[in-house]
């Protein structure tokens, strides 16, 4: 895959085939963890989620996710109360900083988890983000 991308060419379906359907269709944190190859995960201060506590709209919730654990090779974002819990998985190659900004949709107020894999261990941080209604009813 990487080689194909590097060559500037890839068959369109190749990427889709590798997509981790099992993980993205999972309905719980535990099932996502399992689908990503983990058994259990530990809360860790090395994993950081920067996000507003209140989102003005659930369609776009800005997040900064990072891990200070040196051997971090994967970061994932999970929104507990979304129909499909897993939002994104970032593979972190050597030389790339384990620190990303992305934006997720939230169907309702929910816990948001950042899950990191570091040296084969799974670590997480969690924060509740409140999703609020707009005023005009639109």
């Amino acid at each position: 895959m990487a080689a194909l991308v590097a060559a500037g060419w890839w068959p369109a379906m190749a990427g889709a085939a590798e997509w981790n359907r099992l993980a993205f269709e999972a309905k719980t944190f535990e099932d996502v963890l399992k689908a990503l190859g983990g058994v259990d995960a530990k809360a860790s201060g090395d994993v950081v989620l920067v996000a507003p506590e209140i989102a003005e709209n659930g369609a776009v919730v800005p997040l900064q996710i990072s891990s200070r654990s040196p051997a971090t090779d994967m970061l994932a974002v999970l929104v507990e109360k979304n129909p499909n819990v897993l939002a994104a998985v970032f593979e972190v190659p050597e030389g790339t900083v384990a620190d990303f900004q992305t934006r997720v949709k939230m169907a309702q107020t929910s816990n948001v988890f950042v899950l990191a894999r570091s040296g084969g261990r799974y670590l997480y941080a969690v924060k509740e983000i409140k999703v609020t209604l707009g005023g005009c009813g639109g």
Partner: protein, 103 residues
């Protein structure tokens, strides 16, 4: 055909800061149109960023990523004038590749 992305890459200390805005509906498959019909899911599944033939980021996304996605991150080893390529593939097999010169 998919609309172009906006990609920026700039040297930031010993890293290159990459920012990408992608034009995509990111449909969840759970919304209905004004006739009450379900709008089929249509979302970016795979994002790959390369620099000088090396993958500097490989991401998989689900339906929870917001419409017109924004992504920002940093990698080491890039220099001014070099090219960063961002590519995505979505759930319908559509794809798009755009690039930026590191400034």
């Amino acid at each position: 055909m998919a609309n172009p992305m906006k990609v920026r890459a700039a040297v930031d200390g010993d890293t290159v800061l990459v920012k990408a805005l992608m034009s995509h509906v990111m449909e969840t498959g759970r919304r209905t149109n004004d006739k009450g019909e379900t709008i089929p899911a249509h979302f970016i599944q795979q994002v790959t960023v390369t620099h000088k033939g090396r993958v500097v980021l490989s991401a998989q996304w689900g339906t929870s990523i917001s419409a017109n996605p924004f992504l920002s991150f940093r990698f080491r080893g890039g220099a001014k004038g070099e090219t960063v390529k961002v590519a995505w593939v979505d759930s319908k097999g559509d794809s798009r590749t755009d690039e930026a010169i590191i400034t």
